[in-house]
Amino acid sequence: MAWPSIFQRGTLLSQFSHHHVVVFLLTFFSYSLLHASRKTFSNVKVSISKQWTPSAFNTSIELPVEIWSSNHLFPNAEEATLFLGTLDTIFLFSYAVGLFISGIIGDRLNLRWVLSFGMCSSALVVFVFGTLTEWLHFYNKGLYCSLWIVNGLLQSTGWPCVVAVMGSWFGKAGRGVVFGLWSACASVGNILGACLASSVLQYGYEYAFLVTAAVQFAGGIIIFFGLLVSPEEIGLPGIEAEENFEEDSHRPLISGAENEDEAEPNYSIQEDKTITQVKAISFYQACCLPGVIAYSLAYACLKLVNYSFFFWLPFYLSNNFGWKEAEADRLSIWYDVGGIIGGTLQGFISDVLQKRAPVLALSLLLAIGSLVGYSRSPNDKSINALLMAVTGFFIGGPSNMISSAISADLGRQELIQGSSEALATVTGIVDGTGSIGAAVGQYLVSLIQDSLGWMWVFYFFILMTSCTILFISPLIVREMCYLMQRRQTRILSG
């Protein structure tokens, strides 16, 4: 087995400075906070729909209008729920569009400013959406929709920026395992959001929004004062300088404009100014990078399945097995747990192999099996939780890996090395395509479930997972060939 040079030199941890730790934690929590405010919205939905509707309670006693039915934004709870679902879809689409844009912006401006601005401004929008409208008793559907569109655009600055920052601090060698651990931030954010929201919900839903928005705003300020976007900022060598270039076999895939810049010696430590002046690649160029389109499409299919689990699992459990909603909510955490472990473990294996596609392929093949298994889960909570964790391991794991570690690989690949800042743009493209897939998926799942039943939803998931494998199959073939080749040379030389 070929261990990467980083493992040979010593343990992974020993080469990390306190800067690495702080960057890891700051990016981790900044994305957690962004995700927490999203989770808050889904956790206070019941309260909001109560606030927006008159009371439907049937009694002989008089219900004073000012207490029970002064708000007529929606005639009943069903329509309010429908509108809240629409807000979710609007958010996902504007988030997806925003990802494409903010990746490009992130590469051209300072990542720290973009991230800090994104967090603070999105916190303000959430504050206006949830708290200010309630304090002023101003309820308006149009305002809610437009605020949520703006929120989606602003929230989308988060992911490309944090992945780009992480990508510039953590080299490719240890990236799989570090990013696997790090991509738990979304799940941690969900738990954080749920805790914050439930602890203040008794004072009114507006305080749930206020608290998450205020904490997110504070996070934005801390990011502004504390985040170092790259090692070069404090004169440390960039990770490219340390990395060995043994994987240059397919270097001249793209020839032309980019190659001219490659001659520039950008990564000598003394020439700091050149780093801030590096030209970001265009959106089109980023799309043309090998692997970007393939992984984007694959991620669209996989994120569809992953987010469907995220959104629909509690509903499926309470619907299909008749379990209580709070219990179903708690059980569905096991899917996240499986995803975190899967992401970390698979990241580690891919680090050792130095190739990610074969690991993905194997995991996705097993995911199909686990989906079949899960769809036939007996009505038993512990068996179901176990199957859920296994499914999370094989679906959530690869999903986390594509969105973080592989995105960072793609944006840092040798082709554009030294020539441009592409990390945020590439991350934006991959995650943006994925989010479009997720948004479409939310709609499709409800449609399929409604007309064909839950079993077909699982067949649909299996189809989507197979599509994921199909999209990355060229990469699998290529990387498998490389692994074989390396093995043969090793055998020959050994």
Binding site: L26, Q51, T59, P64, Y203, G204, I222, F225, G226
Partner: protein
Amino acid sequence: MAPRRLDSPLSVVPWAAALLLVLSVERALALPESFYTCQIGAGRLRSHWRGHNIHVRIVFSKMRSFPGQDLVQKFSGALFWRLVPRGRNASSSKPDIKICIQCPGSVQNLSEVALYCKQTPELMLHARCCLNWKGTILGLDLQNCSLKDPGPYFPQAHTAIIIDLQANPLQGDLANTFHGFTQLQTLILPQDVSCPGGINAWDTVTFYINNQTCQEQRKLCNSTGDSEMCPENGSCAPGGPGLLQCVCAEGFHGYKCMRQGSFSLLMFFGILGSTTLSISILLWGTQRRKAKAS
């Protein structure tokens, strides 16, 4: 309206109050009478007291031999009273309340409203109303006003304890007219108009030659289990004669009574602000201080 939790220990209260009354009257009699007058207060509790005034009468009958009994009778019906120097009770401000002046004239001299108002030195007559020192309507005398209906300003009198509508050609059902009149204890109506809420809404309905009186609203909330009658966090409360309403249960407030307690903004932002400041300074010092400006 009165808080519900006062209902249960109430049977004890009249006895205690009666004792207090006796003791206090003795004390009052020891004082130079001309300098003191008695103030009736605690209007919220008045209705509870009224419901049990039979106990008070027993005390009064025992006290008949006491000197100065007319003084005691003057304050009958009051639960709490205290001695205040004379002259402090008159309030000069007379708010312009439309319901009081919509019918010309003033409170009839011998009417129930006038009697009620004169019983209590704190109260004063203003046009057709009897007001307390805050300007709240406690009595309303609209007799002989040629009213077909009480008119648009009538809800202004929702705080009234006594209302006289006799000698008016009133028409139709009055049930909704008295919506929100939770304090109303005595209502005098023309004979041909039935008591709002029906006979069951009142403890006593008395017919006279020229009028009828509806006395003491019944508390309907207790008779029926109110837990299922109101939405979540709501509780039953009187809403006027024969009417019930759902208000927020104790501790709940806001729209649909969804909110509980109040959020301490100052503490939250204090903690968050100081934490943010200290982490920012710490990170700036350890991380970004050496960073090149970019």
